[in-house]
């Protein structure tokens, strides 16, 4: 388990998996700061 409080986080999401906004919401709720968030589509 990693403590995300005050950590800087890059969120790389995937369209058919977990999108970047969902990752962002999760890590921010754990106290991290998101410095980059992007969703990719691989098809």
């Amino acid at each position: 388990m990693i403590d995300l409080k005050d950590k800087l986080v890059l969120c790389l999401g995937e369209r058919d998996g977990i999108a970047a906004p969902a990752l962002q919401a999760c890590v921010e709720s754990a106290g991290a700061e998101v410095i980059y968030a992007e969703t990719q589509c691989f098809v």
Binding site: R15, D16, G17, A20, P21, E38, T39, F42, V43
Partner: protein, 486 residues
Amino acid sequence: MSVEGVVQPVVRSAVFSMVHVPGIVLSGSKPRREIVHSKNGLRQQIVSNFRSFADAVAYPPHQVMLGNLPPEALSQIERPWHLHPMPNALPEGPGGRFIDEATFYAWMARGDCARLLRFNGNLPPAMETALAAHANGAKIQKIDKTAMADAIVNGAEPFFMGDTNPVGVLLPAHDEDESLMAPVLLENAAAKVTGAIALLDLLKKYNDLPVDHLLGCGEEAVGDRYQRGGGNLAKAIGEMAPGSIAGGTDVKSFCAGGIHAMLFGAALIASGMHRRVVVVAGGSLPKLGMKFRGHLQSGYPILEDVLVGVAIDLTADDGISPILRLDCSSFHRLGQGSAAHQMTDALSAGPLYAHHLRLSDVDRYAVELHNPDITEPAGSGNVPFNNYQILAAIAAKKGEIKREQMPEFVASHGMPGFSPTQGHIASALPYLPHAIAGLTTGTMKRVQFVAKASLFLGRMTGASDGASLLIERNPSLISHQQKKGG
């Protein structure tokens, strides 16, 4: 379900044109970019892994595209599927037909209204034969090797038939306009021609009613420097068809364009404005060879070597064809969220539950039907399976099934992916021929088509898009079959 005064739209047919174009793979976005920077013979590695036309035809997922094999049959064939070609495979079926590369170039000549194509003065015999048979009398302009080399230096895009010598080039249409550069025009011309092949095949199949309107739903961007992407390819496609087609418009929403266009076409018919609307799209040239790295690493042939066009016939109720339930369709709304479960809830469960239907009441779901043999070697996962897992999870969350029944739900309401990774084509549309058969001569009652679009790729929004459409057995057909049955 019919509403008084509203015409019931139906989907009568869907025809795919599948064009085997290994030589054009080299112009695909990924191979093109990587070959330029490669110092270790990457181009030759790619060319050495091209497959033959016969192998592409016999490839089991392609036989599903043509309608010669049901999607479920792929579950019984060991993967990777290219190791298990179908014996005696035909290049045509109820879902469309396969065309070889030489024939495609002849169609390119036929569609070259701007006269930008130049062919090599010394062409392979197969190419000469194809030009004579399929160029429809178009003037074939040939140039010698030196002129071709000069043209390439000056921005022309070469195209190939396997070996290293180009069989022709497409010239740029302007010296400085980025929207009219040769690679862009080749992409647009390939989309136009593959869409036109599908449209003409559809019109050969059904030539009873005039086409009132064409709705283009491809992902190409036609236009010049003052309206990049603002163009209308539907009318350009229609121009290649015999007779008169009243009009055409393009509908754009990345991969979801096809379902959006079907919804709009159905609405035009329901309103009484048109009796017959055909949704058309050509193939996506930039996506050729998109996953080539994964295929080379896995020892696979280059599997993304096929352009796919489509023509979908929408008409007023004929009493037989499956009905398009506009009242049970859905557009993804701003604010509904772009996460996979939010999209599925909004597009699949939302319209069904609003009409007192459960997810389990739908026989099959047509989702993003990308062939996993293409995507998995490149680390992109099994896209349709992931989509069906989410659907099953939503069904479990809503209490329709127990959590342990999810695999059963996926197996009975889903299907293996079988579509080439052609973006807007792969988004649900390839199941149309199977759904139409299942809802008329088969035993199915309803199929939901769901498409998603990655709007965020254009950097103008962080949002996604999507649309869904429920297609059902025609009530007139049900009462006819009930009378016949007893």
